[in-house]
């Protein structure tokens, strides 16, 4: 054979291949988030993660689609905090925009709303920021939930945690919204079984502007533990008022708020010792990917990730990435892979049983010296739980 022509042929082939690789068609990934409306201040922690992931993947050469590397492109919309819009949008993404993959919206109601669409079109999607026992009623198949912060498990573990701290009396205040309501429902019988007396039981509607009346009752009851099943606005009220009144229960729990960056900025050392839900901490040495994620987020956004929502969002994209690497973009293959693989995430190994995460235990976090540490269960802890110190005087 003429060596020159072989070489030329090889060179040309190489150039063509290289050219093809450069022009690799992007993988289009669709989602909607509440960028405006009443949930808009909760979604940035998730949107930021999606953007961070896209940046990281594209910088590394693209998403690994069963061996082929292709860049990621987002097709995203604003559902305006309306679940009806989310349903429309996901239908549009699937049938109109014909995206290759889907990422989850934010929040439990939106996950439920979208689940029906996924089922209808047989399109798999990994959820993240949803937490309700009713998740188990969704037929397994096209949606999965990596969270372990499910209300009945939270109640169970809280009972164990309180018992282990020798708590005999507890004051419970709760906001009348789904997540906090659900936890309260499961919590009451758990506390009764554990022999813990509920000395204050106050529920309040969304939108309250003052908690003084409620917390005076709590203070007068002198409980060993205070559980404030609150969302960020009332969590802030709790912190301010509890500090004013000098509520000195050694165990104080605030449901939603402490994992969000603004909380630490607003309360500083006053927030130390507050316990909250969460199953991720950058300080867990057993999860080598945890700290790098934390650092990358801080570097890009100049603010800390939400220890719950951001961690879950990143887990969901890690799972997607690993699944696509194995199964490519075929929906049925993806579905089988997601349902049967154990994934390696920033939160350790994750494997699904039905729609739920079967490997990650339900945990609690505590703010210590401004850092979120895992303090329960003992075998997952990154730090030992501490007594809530007295509110700072000056």
């Amino acid at each position: 054979m003429h060596r020159k022509s072989i070489v030329t042929f090889m060179a040309l082939a190489g150039l063509v291949l290289a050219g093809l690789a450069q022009a690799a068609e992007p993988v289009r990934i669709g989602f909607s988030l509440s960028k405006t409306g009443m949930f808009a201040n909760a979604t940035p922690s998730q949107l930021n993660v999606y953007e961070l992931w896209k940046e990281q993947v594209n910088a590394a050469g693209g998403l690994d689609v069963a061996g082929e590397r292709r860049p990621i492109e987002f097709v995203s919309y604003d559902d305006q905090s309306n679940t009806g819009n989310a349903v429309k949008i996901y239908e549009k993404l699937i049938t109109d925009d014909k995206v290759d993959l889907l990422l989850a919206p934010w929040g439990t109601p939106f996950h439920f709303a979208v689940a029906a669409v996924l089922e209808r079109h047989k399109f798999p999607m990994i959820g993240n920021s949803a937490a309700s026992v009713q998740l188990r009623e969704i037929k397994p198949g096209y949606i999965w939930f990596p969270t372990s912060a499910i209300p009945d498990k939270i109640a169970e573990e809280m009972g164990k945690l309180l018992s282990s701290r020798g708590v005999k009396t507890v004051a419970v205040t709760n906001l009348q919204l789904p997540f906090s309501l659900e936890i309260k429902q499961f919590l009451m019988p758990v506390l009764e079984r554990a022999g813990i007396k509920v000395v204050v039981d106050e529920a309040y509607p969304p939108g309250i502007k003052d908690m003084t009346a409620i917390l005076i009752k709590v203070k007068n009851a002198k409980p060993d533990a205070v559980l404030s099943l609150s969302y960020p606005p009332d969590s802030v009220l709790y912190m301010m008022t509890a500090r004013e009144l000098g509520i000195d229960a050694p165990f104080q729990f605030v449901l939603i708020g402490p994992t969000i960056d603004f909380f630490a900025k607003m309360f500083g050392p006053a927030a130390d010792g507050i316990v909250t839900v969460g199953h991720w901490s950058p300080h867990q040495k057993a999860w080598p990917k945890a700290k790098p994620f934390f650092d990358a987020y801080v570097a890009k956004f100049n603010t800390r990730p939400d220890y719950l929502d951001s961690a879950l969002a990143y887990m969901s994209v890690e799972i997607l990435e690993q699944a696509v690497a194995k199964a490519g973009l075929d929906k049925e293959k993806l579905r089988r892979v997601i349902a049967s693989t154990t994934f390696d995430t920033i939160n350790g190994p994750v494997r699904f049983d039905g729609v739920q995460n079967a490997t990650t235990p339900t945990m609690f976090l505590q703010l210590q010296a401004g850092e979120a540490q895992i303090v329960w269960p003992p075998d997952q802890a990154t730090a030992e739980i501490m007594r809530k110190p007295a509110w700072p005087a000056q």
């Binding site: 960028k35 405006t36 409306g37 009443m38 808009a40 201040n41 979604t43 940035p44 922690s45 205040t173 009348q176 106050e202 529920a203 309040y204 509607p205 939108g207 309250i208 502007k209 003052d210 003084t212 009346a213 409620i214 005076i216 009752k217 007068n220 960020p232 606005p233 802030v236 301010m240 008022t241 500090r243 004013e244 009144l245 000098g246 969000i260 960056d261 603004f262 909380f263 900025k265 607003m266 309360f267 500083g268 006053a270 603010t303 509110w391 005087a393 000056q394």
Partner: protein, 296 residues
């Protein structure tokens, strides 16, 4: 029972009431003089809050200083909106006929613009800072220093505004315009100037409230709506155009929030507030202190 008499509940009522009253007063000025339903009022609170937040975070400027900047900026915005949008509406007979409905729409548009511009510029991430959060004891009550500041500033400004309206010539003119639009003209009062002033004042008071609120609550682009609602409920409850009525209405609502809850249960908080509102209006259709004549 003795918690009801505690100073703590009283202090809480005063803080919440003063803040409510401050926001309501600004709205009442605008509604009273021009019959404009400014449903963007809460968004001005939001803007004021952001001015103070950024002032503190970027330049360590105390909100007690940046509040003046917030007020000035907001007053300018108010005057701009008046000149560009409102004046046109007030001069067109077609628009004036349905001024309430049309103003609702105009300010709805303004509200949407303000909220989404803020979201675009600042992202929807909730923001907060710590300032003056030490706890001070007053008698048997304890209060965070920042909440005390909110109470004092809001109260002083409300009282000053009411006094100004009662005692100064301009204030008298404003009140004349509120009470009897056409007769005021006959008396030689120039509505243009008064309108501009009312707008500037109303907007400034909202921004001031925002600066104060930024010390005690997280700031985000869509935080304004609850304040708009509260302000409207209060000005209607107290009687439109009656500024003293707004002050009283603000404290009344706050009292329900604290004492109402203490007497019944926290779960009835909103039902009580709206229930009282509805009951008062059904009993007195012009609000507690509204004039017998309701100009349409």
């Amino acid at each position: 029972m003795d918690s009801l008499l505690s100073g703590q509940l009283l202090v809480a009522t005063l803080v919440v009431g003063a803040l409510y009253a401050l926001v309501a007063l600004g709205l009442n000025l605008i509604y009273g003089t021009m019959r404009l339903l400014n449903i963007a009022h809460g968004d001005l609170v939001m803007l004021g809050a952001y001015v103070s937040y950024w002032g503190f975070s970027l330049a360590s400027v105390s909100p007690l200083v940046s509040m003046f900047v917030a007020m000035a900026l907001s007053a300018l915005l108010g005057m701009a909106i008046y000149v560009v949008l409102v004046r046109r509406a007030l001069h067109s007979t077609a628009l004036v006929a349905r001024i309430e409905a049309n103003s609702l729409l105009i300010f709805f548009g303004v509200s949407v613009i303000l909220q989404n511009t803020a979201a675009l510029l600042f992202t929807a991430n909730p923001r907060a800072y710590a300032y003056l959060d030490q706890v001070i004891r007053i008698g048997d009550a304890a209060i965070s220093a920042n909440r005390l500041v909110v109470l004092v500033v809001a109260l002083v400004v409300c009282v000053a505004a009411i006094l100004y309206l009662r005692l100064s010539m301009t204030g008298l003119a404003i009140r004349a315009l509120i009470q009897e639009r056409d007769a005021a003209r006959l008396a030689g009062i120039e509505p243009e100037r008064i309108h501009l002033l009312s707008f500037a004042l109303g907007f400034a008071m909202a921004a001031l409230a925002g600066s104060l609120i930024s010390m005690i609550q997280q700031v985000s682009p869509f935080m304004g709506f609850p304040f708009t609602i509260a302000a409207f409920v209060i000005i209607i409850l107290g009687g439109l155009g009656n500024l003293m009525g707004s002050l009283i209405g603000g404290f009344l609502l706050a009292a329900i929030e604290t004492y109402g809850v203490a007497l019944t249960s926290a779960s009835f908080r909103s039902i009580l507030i709206y229930g009282v509102f509805i009951a008062v209006l059904v009993w007195r259709p012009q609000g507690l202190f509204g004039g017998a004549r309701v100009a349409r």
